[in-house]
């Protein structure tokens, strides 16, 4: 089973969701600034890497967790991946795409533009983190829903 957390640039919301999934971030409290900053790929992916899937780790059930940036064409790119795999005779039933962009608020968006597109990291990064902290428990809930859905689908 493979899970792809997808967002615009695979730098913020998908990283946070994947990290909660893998236990790199807590579920019961809002993490501090440094806890976000030290995550792999957090606010680091550059625009020439958007589209490349990055492996984040394996969860307790041996599911592979990835992050991927799809800009504002998520439906199109998901369709491309699925049809490419179908043409390669790969079973696509064990792939799950989870869209994390709807959880991104204005602060994270502006922070992301400042840091990733304009290069003002010192200004943008704290803003992205503040935005995610504000909606942190919604990320936790999303991940819990994903894990629950996966468990019920793989039950014999």
């Amino acid at each position: 089973m493979k899970i792809f957390y997808c967002c615009y640039g695979s730098a913020h919301s998908s990283v946070v969701a994947a990290s909660i999934h893998l236990g790199l971030l807590p579920k019961d409290r809002v993490p501090k600034y440094q806890e976000f900053e030290r995550l792999p790929y957090y606010d680091k992916t550059n625009s020439l890497e958007i589209g490349t899937p990055f492996f984040m780790g394996r969860d307790e059930r041996e599911m592979e967790v990835y992050i991927i940036g799809m800009m504002n064409q998520r439906e199109l790119i998901k369709r491309a991946i699925i049809s490419f795999l179908e043409q390669s005779k790969v079973d696509t039933k064990d792939i799950i795409f989870v869209d994390t962009l709807p959880l991104v608020n204005l602060k994270t968006k502006i922070g992301g533009i400042l840091s990733r597109r304009i290069g003002l990291v010192t200004l943008g990064r704290p803003l992205t983190i503040r935005g995610i902290q504000e909606r942190y428990f919604e990320f936790v809930k999303l991940v819990e829903n994903v894990k629950q859905a996966v468990t019920s689908s793989v039950k014999p």
Partner: protein, 147 residues
């Protein structure tokens, strides 16, 4: 080995390039273009899907795809997916024909897709393809010769 020719809608420049690659067309001939598989026929709601056109003389599978303006993102995504599934990144060649478009071509697409003016749109579209035809042909020749 798979080769994907891609453009905004996947059904014009990509189809012309794929057809040149497979030898379905030799020169610029609008009437024969209209008969090509998928030419002007890929639904917008299915953009991103890859369509098989045929096999070339080296046994490589040729596909077309519409990728709007995110061809490069799709190229990276598919190469990444290929390597995750152990197909090897080099099993895929992605050719983005978006830079081979021009104003005539864009106006043609706009007339056909947004204003539903098929006849007039096709006229502009063919003028656009004519302007880029030799360039596309050179590109395809290069792809055909690549190992």
């Amino acid at each position: 080995m798979r080769i994907i020719y891609s453009c905004y809608f996947g059904s014009y420049l990509a189809v012309v390039a794929a057809s040149l690659h497979l030898g379905l067309i030799k020169g610029f001939d609008p009437n024969s273009f209209l008969e090509l598989p998928y030419f002007g026929k890929l639904p917008e709601s299915e953009l991103g899907r890859i369509y098989y056109v045929g096999k070339d003389n080296l046994g490589r599978e040729i596909y077309v795809m519409g990728s709007r303006k995110v061809g490069e993102v799709i190229e990276r995504a598919l190469k990444g997916i290929a390597s995750i599934y152990n197909m090897g990144e080099e099993s895929l060649i992605f050719i983005n024909l978006l830079p081979y478009g021009n104003a005539f071509y864009s106006i043609g697409c706009f007339l056909i897709h947004r204003l539903n003016l098929k006849t007039l749109g096709t006229l502009f579209l063919m003028m656009g393809i004519k302007k880029s035809f030799e360039k596309i042909k050179r590109l395809v020749d290069k792809v055909k010769k690549s190992p």
